[in-house]
Amino acid sequence: MKLLSLVISLTLGFLLLLATADLPDWGDPQSPASIHVSNYYIENSVEQTSVPNFVTSVLADYRGYDTMFETIVIFCAGITVLTILRRSHRQKKKEVRPRPAREGKDLILISAARIIAPMMQIFALYVVAHGHHSPGGGFQGGVILGSSFILLALAYDLETILKRLKERSVIIMSGIGVAIYMGIGMICLFLGGNFLDYSAWSSVLGVSAVEARSHGMLGVEIGVAVTVMYIMFSLYADLSSGGEMDEGL
């Protein structure tokens, strides 16, 4: 059986390596991507979407469908970890591990975390909102937001944070992030555009179609940030407590 899988993976690997010979060279200016698609984005994205950072406009507008499923992939990853690791207290009598007596009471760590966490959260909101103009956006801002809560969970203990950020609401909110993204796309349908064609929002928002695409991207980025943030925290809470959700690292 092992031999068979070795043969299969070697054959597949060989075929894939063979196929790479047909791919254009790295950075080849004559490759199809460089001739048609890139030039179109570089020349037209500011006129069409009024977003100076055309990485963002490609990510959230031209290829919004792709990014929507990336968000769903992150959501699925969080839910999968939850499904595999999460145990209820009834199923298993847990062994009591020895814990340091001062856990979650270290004044220096708590004070530093209380200073740093709000700064991180403000910065994360800036990253989310400034993705139109500079590197950043929903994924990065969401990760910073989520890690600010992880920092608090490390300085205090997991129980303290779970009182504020309930497990149920974490899961619901991570779903709501995906729903924000898909909802913005769906409303475009009802307003007479295509799915994820944000220019349809112009009649509702009272701005031009170009501006509406920019605003639609911001809304989508917020949805991505919400999902990423809650999934990050959910992953930490599951992995650090082994699915018990009672004590962290």
Partner: protein, 113 residues
């Protein structure tokens, strides 16, 4: 004048970095090494960042001032975060029962653990 201050700050930062590395490599046990890393690393990083921030004030424009303030913000963050991280490492070492160096040994074999 500003250049002179920048050069002094950067040189002092590099000097303190040298001391940090020296202490990190040569000190006898975990606690003293962390002591060198926590203090020297923080001070030298902050000094170098302050030097860079001052350098960006060289030709005052809004863009450069903004860059300088961002660098100072990073310096403040490091000044808070780095000693805290050192403290957490020290605390974890103490909790897991690492014995501090007694000062009695001189031989190379025992030191290089």
């Amino acid at each position: 004048m500003l250049d002179f201050i920048v050069i002094v700050l950067l040189s002092a930062g590099i000097l303190f970095f040298f001391g940090t590395i020296n202490g990190l490599l040569r000190f006898p046990d975990f606690y003293t090494r962390m002591h060198a890393a926590g203090k020297g690393d923080t001070l030298s990083t902050v000094l170098i960042l302050l030097g860079l921030a001052l350098y960006s004030f060289h030709h005052p424009s809004v863009q450069d001032l903004l860059t300088g303030y961002k660098i100072i913000f990073i310096a403040v963050l490091i000044a808070i975060a780095s000693p805290t991280a050192t403290h957490a490492l020290m605390d974890a070492g103490y909790e897991s029962g690492i014995k501090p160096w007694g000062g009695e040994t001189d031989s190379e074999e025992e030191v290089d653990k």
